[in-house]
Symmetry: C2
Subunit: 620 residues, 2 copies
């Protein structure tokens, strides 16, 4: 098993292009926008612990996690640009946490104001989930600023959790209802070097599905809901609440590497592949069953009812990245890219201030409006600024500010390049420094030039991901092909010198994708992809009744970059047909269809021009 | 406005063919099967009023309606065949009702055993719905047997309801939460001649949507749920709970005729047409939104999630038949036929003992099983013997035993033939008797021979429905074409003599139907119909992944009768293609498809050969 690490934010700089623009948007807009919404909705002041039953802004059990994810995302943004105002706001929150933390080291906004005596008794109350996010925030803030006050507070909290769940067990449940603490504890271990935290994480993984009996009183008490169906190492498939699944196996992948635990890594890969090959939307979205925000039946992938939570795509990206550190396998690299460019990124508006929680693959605004009126759905028609359960906004925020960390895995002698995008990154290989500068307009096109900087020659393996979506890739170093292609990565073993250049070309042919015949909703339909991007049809470009558009036998696909559209996107046009129709609901079939030209735009950018219909799967 | 009546059961005899077989099945199996299930589940003994909180077989607020519908259906069966055993069982129930009825004339199993003091206070508790079904049962039993004990009890009940809601109002709501009493009161008026009952029915219709403020505390308090959104005469569309809508407008259509109320008839037709042209499945099913078992958004017709309740199709058939009495318009005649042969009839197994409540247009048993396990769906995979809310079994039972009443409308000088099927019917036209004998194998084929019997020549208009599904109908009397075709009926004005024969031929070309492009789920797909029957594909005939089957450009449709299949059905075969596929979830589109022959069977007969996939909309 590989023992790679992902690159730290301090060592990578996004120098331009796609993600630089997103980082600017988040730093300039989202950070303040999310803070303001969290402030208005009481999340920030809740950390003062003054809330009392009956006050406005009803407290939610997961408020702390929202605030923590915002802090975490803000901390990452400091690598992009210092922001004293935001830093002051974080310090004020840390003040509250410091003031509010009990002598034993407990901090939870909800329990301390509503039912303190019930802490550590109700498994499904997101308590350790909140703790985990606070820990992640503290680690991120410490790493970005060097300030360790928050980190030390969270160490006290982690110590308490260790006592309550392990040393002197008094908790009324054994493993968290909503996983997150497990992966946070690994990060806390890395930040502090304190191995107890790693062991506590392992404890939660080892206990899960073994002794737990505090099942949830919904989902029909099905233990799959919270991944309780079997010991983690024995789990065969991705089950239950998608975000919980993702966070759990993120920790499992980390621990597999730390403990060289093959069984645990195998469980990560096996369950992730199960999700990827049985119940993942073409956008990367998971949650093919709204009930429980959960993995549903195999091949059941309804497009309108898709419960493809932004957080779930982020969790899958996080999991992919962690698996890649132990096993650089292009299938997970492809999933990482798919999630970041599609399922996750659709969760934020181009102005960075509005968000989607669910990311459907088909939208009919009138239908949703009807359902809103009678309480049949609460999915908003457009992205909105805040949700009652507002986990997704700070999650996509922290993902974008942290994007550099997803680019590379490396150990003492190897660098694995997972993502392409204009950037500069620094690695330490057996004590020698080597930098990689990617120059590219990816994902507008697939040409990437990687230039090496090194004071002295460095012996190392460089491995470049060859996306499965590319059928004519070229990777060249001084005219030579790679030494080998293995599991989707092109390997060069060389002594690298300053100024060495690797030229990569990943031609982005426009591709039509079809789904397994068991996916009833996609039969007779194709999705359009170009490079890493999934495309979609929007009403604003193509009129109504998008589901009736049929791609021509010879579609005459064209792509062109439109700099003024949707913040600059590559647009795809094609020929197709649609039906002309009167008022009737049914009529006898007539083969005649009207020819028309159609336009597809990247899925992540949909619904930035007002609400309207959406369709990802087009008749073929 | 026409003042036709539907034919009474005493005057029509189903002599053979399709419905005769169903009447035999119901008389020989369903009657006892439903009684036994109702007995085991406590519905029958509940009428003894001995149930107490904590007893087994928890009492439901609608138990009385279930029992009543069974009595009603049993009573109709006596026209087919006397059944002393069943009659005795009904008498025993009537004994209980007589014994249990309060001095004021109240009878309700639930309220009298659980919360008597709350009677007439909770609008949504199905109280008047139960009363209405008891009244319908009493009328039917009286008409079939001549015994008036039950009828008189129900008159007392109706008198009480009049006092509580009109004369000396004390009820805590103004109109029923679940309509039914309104149409029952019209029937009670016809059975007794007591006009107060007609006026009470009109009172409930006039009050609805005017003064009511006891809205339901779900469906987001949307008044549409129970058709409260506007005065009945002003309602523009079919809204809310489908069965409630149907029963309400059944009464409205009856009252329109009784009071010659054009505005009321217009509301019936307008709202029914709205349902038929905006939110009705090709099978006739309504309930395109599971939430609230309700009419959903226009053109939103999901096939797997279809909440197409058997009762809703029956209610639409009842409504169609009532509209036809006032306005013989083929659109409603077509709907009547569609519902009876498809949406309604799918609710009962061929052996008559098992039932569907929801009638989906697409079934994936594995998906449903998964959803059952985690509480995401309770729709059974196969028809079952009893539901917690078991309204549908006795409803389809009473519909089949009462089928003759749907055939004709007539007044003093006209007979309108709505349905075709082997039968003999007797009419009284201006004091003269005229009988019509239909000889036909309908719906196996569309040839119908109608022979007239009359002791003396009778001047009358005979009008025969020309189904819209037939594009080459012929209707001939002694070689002559009809005098006129008007709104889907072929009219002959003649002095009819004994032995006159009308020859009708309605060729049943196999037709492919497409849905409006606004119906996203059906785009690129066709439904197969032959005559009045909607066809479907089943796994047992065509293997798995039915949604991926594509009808060939030249399908080479053939139909043939198979007497040993599904109780004798006309089977359709056609050429088509499907994809070959490995394990992957997605792949790049390949045009190649495998040619294969496929078999379609009538939708009503699906799932009588074990559970399996179902598909009504086939790729084209």
């Amino acid at each position: 098993m590989k023992q790679c690490k992902n690159i730290s934010n301090a060592d990578i700089h996004i120098t331009g292009g796609f993600w630089k623009k997103w980082q600017a948007t988040v730093a300039e807009s989202s950070l303040n926008a999310v803070y303001d919404r969290f402030s208005e909705s009481g999340r920030i002041t809740a950390t003062e612990l003054h809330w009392r039953t009956g006050d406005s802004n009803p407290l939610h059990i997961f408020f702390d996690s929202d605030t923590a994810k915002w802090i975490e995302g803000a901390a990452y943004s400091f690598y992009y640009r210092k922001n004293p105002d935001i830093e002051q706001k974080i310090e004020a929150i840390i003040d509250n946490i410091e003031r509010g933390m009990t002598d034993e080291g407990y901090f939870n906004t909800y329990y301390q104001t509503v039912e303190f005596s019930n802490r550590f008794t109700v498994r499904q109350n997101h308590e350790l989930y909140c703790a985990g996010h606070l820990i992640e925030a503290a680690v991120a803030y410490y790493e970005a600023t060097g300030k360790d006050r928050f980190l030390k507070l969270m160490c006290r909290y982690a110590d308490l959790i260790e006592r309550v769940f392990v040393t002197d067990p008094s908790a009324k449940f054994r493993t968290p209802g909503h996983e997150e603490i497990e992966l946070a504890l690994v990060r806390l271990y890395h930040a502090t070097g304190e191995k107890r935290y790693l062991e506590l994480s392992k404890h939660f993984i080892d206990e899960r599905g073994v002794h737990e009996d505090a099942y949830f009183d919904f989902f029909n008490f099905d233990p799959r809901y919270a991944q309780d169906q079997a010991p983690v190492r024995d789990q065969q498939s991705a089950e239950g609440h998608c975000v919980r699944y993702g966070y759990l196996f993120c920790a499992a992948a980390d621990l597999a590497k730390e403990y060289n635990d093959d069984a645990l890594l195998a469980a990560c890969e096996r369950t992730a592949l199960n999700a990827m090959t049985k119940k993942m939307y073409v956008t990367g979205g998971t949650g093919n069953m709204k009930h429980g925000e959960a993995f549903g039946p195999d091949y059941h992938l309804p497009n309108f009812e898709a419960y493809t939570e932004t957080c779930a795509s982020i969790a899958m990206a996080m999991l992919a990245q962690r698996i890649l550190n132990a096993d650089p396998d292009g299938r997970f690299g492809d999933m990482l890219e798919l999630q970041l460019f599609n399922g996750a990124l659709a969760g934020i508006s181009l102005d960075g201030e509005k968000f989607y929680y669910e990311n459907p693959l088909e939208q009919k605004p009138e239908n949703l409006e009807f359902m809103h009126a009678c309480g049949a759905s609460s999915r908003p028609i457009e992205r909105i600024k805040l949700f009652g359960c507002s986990c997704c906004p700070p999650n996509i925020l922290r993902t974008i500010t942290n994007i550099g960390r997803y680019y590379y895995s490396s150990d003492e002698s190897s660098i694995f390049v997972h993502l392409y995008g204009a950037s500069r990154a620094k690695f330490n290989l057996n004590g020698k420094t080597l930098s990689l500068t990617q120059s590219t307009r990816y994902p507008d096109n697939g040409k990437i030039r990687v230039v090496i900087s090194a004071k002295e020659p460095v012996q190392a393996t460089l491995a470049f991901r060859i996306p499965a979506w590319c059928d004519a890739p070229t990777v060249r170093f001084k005219g030579s092909i790679p030494d080998r292609i293995e599991k989707g990565y092109a390997y060069f073993d060389r002594k690298w010198e300053n100024g060495d250049v690797i030229e990569i070309d990943l031609p982005m042919r426009i591709r039509m994708i079809e789904a397994n015949p068991q996916v009833a909703d996609d039969c007779g339909r194709v999705a359009i992809k170009r490079g890493p991007l999934v495309y979609c049809l929007e009403e604003v470009d193509n009129g109504k009744n998008l589901a009736d558009i049929r791609i021509a036998q010879y579609p005459n696909f064209h792509s062109h970059y439109e700099k003024d559209l949707l913040g600059g996107v590559t647009v795809i046009t094609f020929n197709g047909t649609r039906r002309e129709w009167g008022d009737e609901l049914y009529r006898e079939y007539r083969p005649a269809r009207k020819k028309e030209g159609f336009t597809a735009v990247p899925y992540y950018a949909w619904c930035n021009r007002g609400p309207g219909e959406l369709e990802c799967w087009v008749l073929k």
